[in-house]
């Protein structure tokens, strides 16, 4: 059944191409309509329908659909841009609907839902980034540092825990970056521990003067 459908869609798409070349625009449009109704997830069908669509609005809708189905479809991307520019010349209003890594979805002033390619590398927003492997060790390091400036006694205990955490996490096959991070945490915790000894001694001689 699936195979039969695919064959029918392929035939229809071929037919659309031929009819469009022969200047039979209306017939080509009807065939593309059938193709998009049979295979609504086929980007080429939507693209070919956009080529024969009677109105610029429908053309834009079809291109937008074609692009969202296949964001690597270069012709759809290029023509979508031109269609959006034409739309914006008539009505510059666009309202935000949502976005993906690849495109924005907007609602135009004429109430059309359009997908617009982003054309840029995707950078995970800072607040959504997953915490790195070394994060627990850094948390212990922060606590050790805080303990150091608050008299040092806490750091005498916390810095070895930090060092232990760093060594323990080393065993869980971290990436190169995390491995370096964990060594840095280890070295810093040793430095904090060394600094905490005289500072905590200074605090303790005040607690127990004798």
């Amino acid at each position: 059944m699936q195979k039969m459908l695919q064959t029918e869609v392929s035939q229809l798409l071929e037919e659309v191409g031929q009819l469009a070349q022969q200047g039979e625009r209306e017939k080509a449009y009807q065939s593309s309509l059938r193709a998009t109704s049979i295979a609504p997830d086929e980007s080429l069908a939507w693209y070919l329908r956009s080529q024969t669509a009677p109105s610029p609005e429908e053309q834009l809708m079809c291109l937008s659909r074609a692009y969202s189905l296949d964001t690597t479809f270069p012709d759809a991307k290029k023509e979508l841009r031109t269609a959006v520019q034409t739309l914006l010349k008539q009505e510059p209003f666009l309202a935000y609907v949502h976005e993906t890594e690849e495109f924005y979805q907007v609602r135009s002033g004429r109430d059309l839902l359009v997908n617009i390619p982003k054309n840029r590398a995707f950078d995970t927003p800072y607040l959504q980034k997953a915490p790195g492997l070394a994060k627990p060790a850094f948390r212990w390091l922060s606590l050790s540092l805080l303990a150091l400036v608050l008299g040092g006694v806490g750091a005498v205990l916390l810095a070895p825990i930090t060092a232990f955490q760093a060594l323990r996490l080393q065993a869980s096959s971290p990436s190169r970056g995390d491995r370096v991070r964990l060594w840095i945490v280890f070295i810093l915790s040793v430095i904090i521990w060394l600094a905490s000894i005289p500072i905590s001694w200074l605090l303790l001689i005040r607690l127990y003067p004798s």
Binding site: P92, L94, Y104, G177, V180, L202, I205
Partner: protein, 750 residues
Amino acid sequence: MLVRALYLSAIWFAISLFATLMLGARLRRSNSALSLLWLGVIIIAGNLIALFTFGKFLEIFGLSSIAFLFGLLWIIRLRDWNAPGQVTWAMTLMTTGLFIFYTFLLTAFSPLNPLSFIFALLFFFLEAITLLLALAHMHESLDVICRVRWHRLLDKLDPHPDYLPMVSLQVPAYNEPVDVVQKTLDSLAQLNYPNYEVLVVDNNTPLQETWRPLEEICRKLGPNFHCLHLDKWPGYKSGALNFAVTQTDPRAEIIGIIDADYEVDPDFLRELVPAFANPQVAFVQTPQDYSDHKGDVFSESTYRGYKYFFEVSMPSRNERNAIIFAGTMGLIRKSVLEEIGGWDEWCITEDAEASLRILMRGYQSLYIKRPFGRGLMPFNFEGLKKQRFRWCFGGIQILKKHWEVLMPWANWVDPQNKLTFAQRYYYLLGGLGWFTDVFNLLFAFFLVLGAVFGLLSSPIQVRPLTNTILVLPAIFLFLHTSRFLWVLRNRLKISFGMALATMYNFFSLGWAVTLACIQGLIQREGIFLRTPKSKTSSRAWHAILVTQWETIIGLICIIAGFLVFITNRNWRSVSLCVLLFWQGSLYIAAPIYSLLSIRREAAKASRITDQGRPMLEQRAARWVVVLFMVMIAAFGLITVLPSPSELPAYARYLPIDMAPQQLLGQKLGSTKLAMATVSIQSTHCWSGPGGKYKQVTLLRRGQEAEILGRNADPNNPWWYVKIPDTGLECWLWGMAATTTGSVDNVPIIQ
């Protein structure tokens, strides 16, 4: 010895700085022999002062040798600076280092109860960070004034007549008055460049009447002008600019960002685009300039404050390829912007953040120091305060997001991170520098609480107020203030009065910066500051209301200083009073500038360009109030907890203090009686020079006694004193007291 070394170093620092203030900007050549000669002159001049006052020949000789070697090291390292700059930097570094060491010893070995010690330690760390930040400011000042060879600073680029890539100029607008944007677009229409488009991106402006006319203006200006209105758009300005990139002409290679209130010179593109002929150049920045700065002190000083960044910080950063993209009047390569993933919509200073990500990839940036356009400044102090809050908040966001890539080990963690040491230093400093105002407020709190507890006759025993601790910070404050005024005068070519007004304009925003630092650390998303609204129509009352916190803090400092002055008139109280007045004046400047700013055109003040989640100032200030309460509670507890009743053994490591009279050389021929004043909470007086002897009596802080004799050990001095009224004679440990009068003539008692 340490204290004498510190004072000698401070004298070298002061002499070299004042010589630099006079000669630093004039001497336009660098020569190693001249630098060595200058180093020698400064050291000898300082030595002569020390020899005739407090110095000891052998110590001076030893320290001079170290100072000479240290100076030599910096002369070799800073070959592009002139001699005064090199020597001043070496002396500043040396004095700051010695002072930090001195304060550490004072913190470590003062007789304090445990809670006092913890507070003293915290205070020491804050003090050390503040001093390091002051060092960084000194370096920046000397770098621009005393630099004789610039490697990257350009006024003008070489023309490239055949290189005319397409440029897309993007004009982000939010709630901008139509006439303001019209002027900007008219100026862009006059650009002397054949291949560009202009994209006006209005985002989230609520009223159609405000944004609809922009569409018509663009239509009239021709096919190269396009207009977009983005509704309910996330990400504020950066969100809008990111979308604008999708709508730029595919042929465009360069993107320019122009704020909607800028009138741009016709040569803007013709002059700057040639920079991109070098494929390594990713962005070019020019200074921001303003057209509405004449007429009153507020506008002039605000204008000079902006200029400072572009005349001092940016040239210095540019020498190390570490500039920031300032968000307007700059060009950026489109492919690089796409490569980094566009503007960060999380950060409210997305321009500076993007420049860091670009530099991380190893690209070049370029600063051209000629302004190519003029915009509008905030129209009143309220606007300026909100703008500074936003800048600082964004700076802290950058620090929070990128702190790891700025660390010394960043290149090991991520070999793709191509930031150089200097780039990391400048970006780290750009974030940490904001905290100077937080430390300044903490210092003001400390002074106020010190004064209040002192007036209640229960002084806070956090750190003994030795003479050195009272004298040297005052000298540092004076020298660094002089340096700041000198840089302002020199680089901005302004009068002393205007330099002073500009400096106060900077400091008057300290409260807003403090709030932004705290909120930047706490908040996850961008916020803007909402100042209190007044119910009356009085503009003067509103001006006071928007600076109510600064006014309260300033008045508290000044009243505390006044009370200290009228209750106790010794030189210590006077110095505390001067410091309180100084701190108060920094905060009181805010309402004064706010009142001055109401003279500006009222209609213009109606611009509303805040974006983000609002945060009421009262709400933002609650953390500061909590901090103040914690300090009061802790200081209260410190005074209740007992201090060491006997002099602890560790106190012998305290550096020996010097009296002001000794500094001024009054040991020669002075006929005044030698007196000892107890400087710690309480101490015993003993029957012999040591803790093993019998206790004769207990002496309290501030109690005075005439010195009749001393022991033979100069490193562990004991004074044989006569207690007034009682007539008792006993031994007082030198570390527990400061001395006045001629102690050198006191006889040694075996």
